[in-house]
């Protein structure tokens, strides 16, 4: 319950400040524009590159938002207040995770539509694409929210976040790209897509459990 209160409050703050969302959406627009020009104008090339562009853009924009989730506390100097709340501190991580997850899903859906339009991805398989988005975004946010919390007190947190998160989320990006490719390719075997979903699901459950268990220890000063 408290985790939802925290997530909704952060969403409200983000909607009023808009600093993180504006940066993330501008970044996405620039990436799509550059990649669209670089891989175009051949439809086959664009269609092949689309899933990779989608997930790489989402991963980098997600790092900006993950950093933002904790920067809210640093800018307002309110981290101490959160740490002084009663009970174990897992809920703080879960709250930040929910905030980031909701933003990633909205951004991912928006990005999917843009990539579909520009890179000729068929949206007829949208339920499968949505499942991939949910599984991939969950794996990504579980790790990014954890490391963004771990580095929140450091001056070089933004640089460190990329260095810490990207090696770990490589399996998520790879599995999500492969699953997306399988979904948009009409001759691909759907069983292969399901096996990538399973990998993403296992990653999500294992990392979510580990991060929830470890968070109270790492957030202590």
């Amino acid at each position: 319950m408290r985790a939802w209160v925290l997530a909704l409050r952060d969403l409200r703050l983000e909607m009023r400040g808009r600093a993180g969302l504006l940066s993330a959406f501008s970044f996405i627009a620039v990436v799509l524009f550059i990649m669209g020009i670089a891989f175009g104008p051949e439809e086959a090339n664009l269609r092949r590159a689309g899933p990779g562009v989608l997930w790489v853009a989402l991963a980098f924009a997600g790092s900006m938002l993950a950093s933002r989730a904790w920067a809210i506390e640093v800018e307002n100097e309110t981290l101490d207040e959160l740490l002084l709340t009663p009970g174990s501190r897992e809920w703080i991580y879960v709250g930040k995770l929910l905030f980031l997850w909701l933003l990633m899903l909205v951004m991912g859906a928006f990005l999917l539509v843009l990539v579909a339009a520009w890179f000729y991805l068929p949206l007829s398989s949208w339920p499968q694409l949505f499942v991939t988005l949910v599984l991939g975004a969950t794996g990504y946010t579980v790790v990014a929210a954890f490391y963004a919390g771990l580095t929140v007190r450091l001056r070089a947190r933004d640089v460190l976040l990329y260095l810490l998160v990207f090696p770990l989320i490589l399996p998520v990006v790879l599995a999500a790209v492969k699953a997306t490719l399988g979904i948009v390719d009409p001759v691909a075997d759907f069983a292969e897509v399901v096996s990538w979903w399973k990998l993403l699901g296992v990653f999500d459950v294992v990392y979510a459990t580990l991060c929830v268990l470890l968070f109270p220890a790492v957030i202590e000063g």
Binding site: R2, V5, L6, R9, R12, L13, R16, G17, I72, E75, N76, E77, T78, D80, E81, L82, L83, L84, T85, P86, G87, S88, E220, G221
Partner: protein
């Protein structure tokens, strides 16, 4: 025998190679208002943060409410900390800050109670904290303390930026908090400390 609310036992704390607290001892009994005095850099704020369990000392032990500080979880909600300057979310209004803060501390309060507290400290409704002066932020911190009703209130230079009306309100809040627990405040103002505190503790720079 009644346990002290706070017990600081031979605490040492350094930042980098610089010792800020060296062998500090302090016990605060229920009902006490202890004022930590001393020039800048003697470690008053650091000691408050160590007591609040926000930073861990290199050596020594802190006990709160009769328990080791590292073992408290639920009791953390009994600690009220007013930093200098007090921390609030700038894009939220005063009322939103109060209600969110209390909801996250598992002490949700009705909107009417929040409105009464805001009125009592003389703050206008609906204005974002970004538009508050430092004195208004201090008043908002007082309103939060009134609603939070902590059993241990820690205040860092609470009197600065407050006008005479704000100071009177502050004295009332401190006395009320001490009647249900204990108060530790850090200040440079000997006059204010002498007026409010039941014990003055002069701190010296660690060498």
């Amino acid at each position: 025998m009644v346990e002290p609310v706070v017990e600081v036992r031979r605490v040492w704390k350094r930042f980098g190679r610089q010792w800020v607290l060296r062998d500090v001892q302090l016990a605060v009994e229920p009902g006490e208002i202890v004022a930590l005095l001393g020039p800048n850099g003697v470690g008053k704020t650091t000691l408050l943060r160590v007591i609040a369990t926000l930073i861990r000392p290199q050596r020594g032990e802190v006990r709160l409410f009769g328990k080791p500080a590292k073992a408290i979880e639920q009791e953390r909600g009994w600690i009220g900390l007013v930093a200098n300057p007090p921390a609030f979310y700038r894009h939220l209004s005063g009322e939103e800050n109060l209600s969110q803060s209390l909801a996250l501390s598992s002490k949700p309060v009705a909107a009417a109670e929040v409105a009464t507290a805001m009125e009592r400290v003389g703050l206008p409704a609906g204005r974002p904290v970004a538009a508050y002066s430092s004195g208004m932020r201090k008043r908002l911190a007082l309103a939060r303390t009134m609603l939070q009703k902590p059993r241990l209130l820690l205040l860092d230079e609470p009197e600065t930026a407050l006008d005479s009306g704000g100071r009177e309100e502050l004295v009332e809040v401190i006395k009320s908090a001490a009647s249900g627990g204990a108060v530790v405040l850090a200040t440079h103002d000997h006059g204010f400390a002498g007026e409010i505190a039941s014990r003055l503790v002069e701190m010296e720079a660690a060498r």
